[in-house]
Amino acid sequence: MRVSAPGRATLSNMLYDALENRIPKAIMKEFVKDMSARWNKAAKFKLPEDEFDQLVRTTAGGLKYSCKGESLMPCPIPCSRVMTAPSFAEYHLDWSKVGFAITGHLRKSQINLLETNGLHGIVIGKIRGTRPFAWVTPTENMQNTRASLHPADSARNHCGLIHYSRDENLVELVYPADIFMKESLYAPTFLDGYQLVYQSKRSRHRWGLAVELATLADGYPEAVHPPLSITGEFVLKDLGRLKPLSHSFDFVRFVGNMEWKWNWRTKGKFYKYVK
């Protein structure tokens, strides 16, 4: 994994989480054991990144290795989730109630309707991604984003959402203010963020910190939660259309800036930790 910059970023994040005690030692030990066993059995042409992905994604339906960071609950901070409008529609819209057709995008007028009429009685399902958890950021930060000239681009940049590269409409799902007083919320770890532009870093209130795509500076605070049911108490806000990314992300510089770097010396420290 250390051959590629994204692979080195994952290893450095793993190191940070271990040595800064952001993940329970028992989980880390088990992960290393599972990963070694898997790698020893893997076919020659397989890449370690893919074995890592398969292990995290498939073990116990993806539950074993997600949301294993520090618990942040009870958390009084209101939260929001940024997602693409088609993704929101596919995961959460009760099509039979609203009567919208499925085409792969929501019209502006439809998003406006959802924004103004609210989500009461027309949403279903649990909030999650293709793995069983979802990312959130404080709503307070999103207010600045919404006030910017290009809210969708600003949200992508400050939340480090490099995988949103298409010309698509972004929306903000605002959670009920006190939801994380009762529901679980965790600081993210390398196990949650390995596929993304992600840095393991502690912020105020022990949250994680996204990476700003444009400057590589610290972005908005971020946290993860296990699947939870969406209700009419949630609010949808339109962030407008994304512009295509104007630059590619500089992974090499990003890895170079990381606090803990994976090298022969730190590697030794890590193995001593998990022994």
Binding site: D50, D53, P86, S87, G99, A101, I102, G121, G129, T130
Partner: protein
């Protein structure tokens, strides 16, 4: 494993149609696709759509065929409803028109009915799956095939009423001027089962699909009780001046929600509506900005109609 579109095309390109079908079916069952790295977000179908857009036109056609074939080969007990939903979403996203046929077959064969009675959870799965299938077919309207399938379902007594909003709007998309044929059934069902539909969303969608001008022009084909219910719910959101400026007298009258049911002859004055609106709009053209312009147009129309009404009352006396 990389998601570079050329390399995905290269390895999928070596697959036979059978193997591509199996790849798709297994992928949606296991929620992971051999040879593709699945991101955390968005959904699987959207990620596949994103990869698909980079394929060559020839391979796009082959891939579409693969999706259609997978829908034909889908089996409830082998692949499950989650897989069906994934394939249907993908079919909609890549605009595979051929999906209508296997979906029609699934709908009409009532395969999914067996899900309904087993448990509350299964009942939810049934509803969620069916609404996705209908939404996907609806997304291909105004294609003639959609109208045929939807009319059959909409007017069938055995079909599940919960999906009437989707069928109604799909039919409106196919034949907007025929909305008076479809609306009464929907309004009757809505009255009987109000919890099944979000009326404000459905009427707003109808307004967008049919347009105010067509709604107004064909309103007379509705019975007065349906006219009233439609007008009660129409234009509940803030209307856009753009949707009114330059429209017919009917449209403006409709948005005022008054007197629309009264034919012009009632006034005893023949009105060339086109001319009428032209003259009035010309008179107020010097106003500032489109919002003021449309507001003034509406106010003037209201005033003018009032003067007609006064005239009718006087003449009757």
């Amino acid at each position: 494993m990389s998601n570079k579109k050329e390399s995905v095309e290269q390895f999928l390109g070596s697959y036979s149609p059978d193997k591509l079908t199996t790849w798709l079916l297994n992928g949606f069952v296991t929620q992971s696709f051999d040879g593709i790295r699945i991101e955390l977000d968005p959904s699987l179908a959207l990620q596949l759509r994103n990869i698909y857009t980079g394929f060559s036109p020839q391979f796009q056609s082959r891939f579409k065929e693969g999706v259609i074939r997978s829908l034909f080969e889908w089996d409830l007990h082998t692949h499950g409803p989650q897989c069906l939903k994934g394939l249907a979403f993908l079919g909609a996203y890549i605009r595979a028109l051929g999906c209508i046929e296997p979906i029609r077959f699934i709908l009409e064969s009532e395969i999914l009915e067996s899900l309904k009675e087993t448990s509350t959870e299964a009942e939810d799965v049934y509803k969620e799956t069916l609404q996705v299938l209908l939404g996907v077919v609806q997304g291909f309207a105004p294609y003639e095939g959609v109208k045929i399938v939807f009319e059959r379902l909409y007017f069938s007594e055995s079909f599940d009423y919960r999906f009437a909003a989707q069928l109604f709007l799909g039919l409106c998309e196919c034949s907007p001027e025929q909305y008076p044929r479809y609306l009464p059934r929907f309004l009757d069902l809505q009255k009987k089962y109000p919890a099944y539909y979000a009326l404000e969303f459905v009427v707003s969608e109808m307004e967008r699909i049919v347009t105010l001008a067509r709604t107004a022009a064909n309103l007379r084909w509705l019975e007065p009780r349906y006219q009233e219910r439609l007008l009660e719910n129409l234009c509940t959101h803030k209307w856009s001046p753009a949707s009114l400026v330059g429209e017919s007298f009917d449209t403006l009258a409709l948005t005022l929600r008054k007197s629309v049911a009264i034919p012009s002859q009632t006034f005893g004055v023949p009105i060339d509506r086109g001319m009428f609106i032209k003259i009035r709009v010309k008179e107020i053209r010097n106003d500032e900005g489109p919002v003021r312009f449309a507001e003034n147009a509406l106010l003037k129309m209201a005033g003018i109609r009032q003067s007609f009404m006064d005239k009718v009352v006087t003449e009757t006396k």
